[in-house]
């Protein structure tokens, strides 16, 4: 009963006549319409039956509708048509509703059968409204059927284009740096006052010979040297001290990190 979701490909119907419900087909013999596949469920069938009362849905007789529906189902069963369960459930419920509506008033349950009938009517109105709305929607001027857009539009495009920029100074500076980088460079070493390792070795070992006491490394440096010679002398004297220690001619003492380095002669 749910032939849903299928896209019908045939092109036979005219605009706005997208489908033909069994009950709305123009023939008088209801027996021909016992093909229930045409309805989208029992509510849909009820709606079709209600429409056949040819009155406003707000004024339909629920009792008459119930009789029509039950009659329908009976005939379908007599013809041994297979009925989906939800149609039978609806039939049972409608039979109950009918009996409740006809029963004497005293022992009415809640909700009352009148309420149930009214609710059914409201539902039918809503479904009817949507069915009409669908038909009117389908009958509109539809794109690709009634109105057309261009078959092969050129389309709009936005191309991103890079715009390069550079300034005069960057250009000139770049050239300067290329030239600077690749120009044959002449390296000149400036003359600097230095104390060579040889002279430091000589100086330290000769001064060590004078005493057996510990002496600080700085005491071995030339006393009035200019700063740059003094730095060189410090480095050379330090290496000389290490060398003398390695040769076993001196011993070094260094009490704490970054503290003064002391050395003295090893007794022969």
């Amino acid at each position: 009963m749910t032939g849903e979701g299928l896209m019908l490909q045939d092109n036979a119907a005219s605009p706005g006549d997208e489908w033909v419900t069994p009950a709305s087909a123009p023939t008088a013999d209801e027996a021909l319409y016992l093909e229930l596949d045409g309805w989208e469920g029992p509510l849909d069938l009820l709606l079709d039956l209600a429409r056949r009362q040819k009155v406003d849905l707000r004024q339909i007789s629920i009792l008459a509708l119930v009789d029509q529906y039950l009659g329908y189902i009976e005939r379908a069963e007599a013809l041994r048509l297979e009925l989906a369960a939800d149609y039978l459930v609806m039939a049972a419920w409608l039979a109950y509703l009918k009996s409740a509506l006809l029963l004497p008033r005293e022992e009415q349950e809640d909700p009352s059968p009148e309420e149930l009938a009214l609710r059914l009517q409201l539902r039918l109105q809503r479904l009817g409204a949507m069915r009409d709305a669908a038909a009117r929607l389908m009958a509109r001027d539809r794109l690709g059927r009634d109105v057309f857009v261009r078959a092969a539009p050129e389309g709009l495009r936005i191309d991103r284009k890079l715009k390069w920029t550079c300034d005069w100074f960057s250009l000139v500076q770049a050239y300067g740096q290329v030239k600077a980088r690749t120009a044959p460079a002449i390296h000149m070493v400036r003359e600097r006052p230095v104390m060579t390792l040889e002279s430091a070795l000589e100086r330290v070992s000769s001064m060590l010979g004078v005493t057996l006491d510990w002496m600080r490394l700085e005491e071995f440096l030339p006393p009035h040297a200019e700063p740059r010679l003094r730095r060189s002398a410090l480095a050379s004297s330090f290496v000389a001290a290490l060398e003398l220690a390695r040769l076993g001619k001196a011993e070094l003492a260094h009490d704490d990190a970054f503290g003064p380095l002391r050395l003295r002669r090893v007794r022969a």
Partner: protein, 198 residues
């Protein structure tokens, strides 16, 4: 619209003519080199007026503008038309329910139709580009809710959902309200209404 359109109108004509998809006012204005949207809107209105009654028209659908052929010229064009999607009856009804009730959950669709809706039906509508998932309803179970798309409005020639056929009447008649609400409203207004049935 005079016989000699101004430069903005000409640019809009050319752009709408060439575009592959309908353009919103904002996109159109941006494409025209950041034109003033108010001016573009005015020019569009002028152009729509100029083309009204011609063989091609400039129309607004869901906030997007495009050129299309006049509906009454359809018979000429039908032979070369593309195949328009034909919907099953179920799909058509579901589409109408989504359009008139949006946003709407599947349970709400089913309660109106009185029948289960197969997932395939909504899939077909979404594949056609007419229905989209519009989020979830913040109630227990957080059901997915559905709504229509701008393509839906384009396809059915609607400027906006307010143009849905008969929507004002349906709303006024309460036919877009759930049965429960409608029943309670009726019960409050005329307590005896149920008795009239007999």
């Amino acid at each position: 619209m005079s016989e000699r359109p101004d430069e903005l109108a000409r640019a809009i004509e050319a752009t709408l003519f060439a575009t592959e998809a309908p353009l919103t006012l904002a996109v159109l204005a941006a494409h025209l080199g950041d034109a003033d949207p108010a001016q573009v809107r005015a020019a569009l209105a002028g152009l729509a007026g100029h083309y009204s009654g011609r063989g091609i028209e400039i129309v607004e659908r869901g906030g997007r503008w495009h050129f299309q052929t006049a509906a009454d010229c359809a018979h000429l064009l039908r032979r070369e038309r593309e195949q328009v999607r034909r919907l099953s009856r179920a799909a058509t009804e579901v589409l109408a329910i989504v359009a008139y009730h949006e946003p709407v959950s599947r349970a709400e669709i089913e309660s109106i139709r009185g029948v289960q809706t197969s997932g395939g039906t909504l899939d077909v509508l979404m594949e056609a580009g007419w229905v989209r998932v519009a989020g979830r309803r913040e109630v227990p179970g957080r059901p997915v809710i559905y709504a229509t798309t701008p393509e839906f409005l384009q396809h059915f020639g609607l400027e906006s959902r307010r143009d849905l056929p008969g929507i004002d009447d349906l709303r006024a008649a309460g036919l877009l309200d759930p049965v429960d609400e409608a029943y309670e409203a009726m019960a409050l207004q005329q307590p005896e209404v149920a008795d009239e049935e007999e």
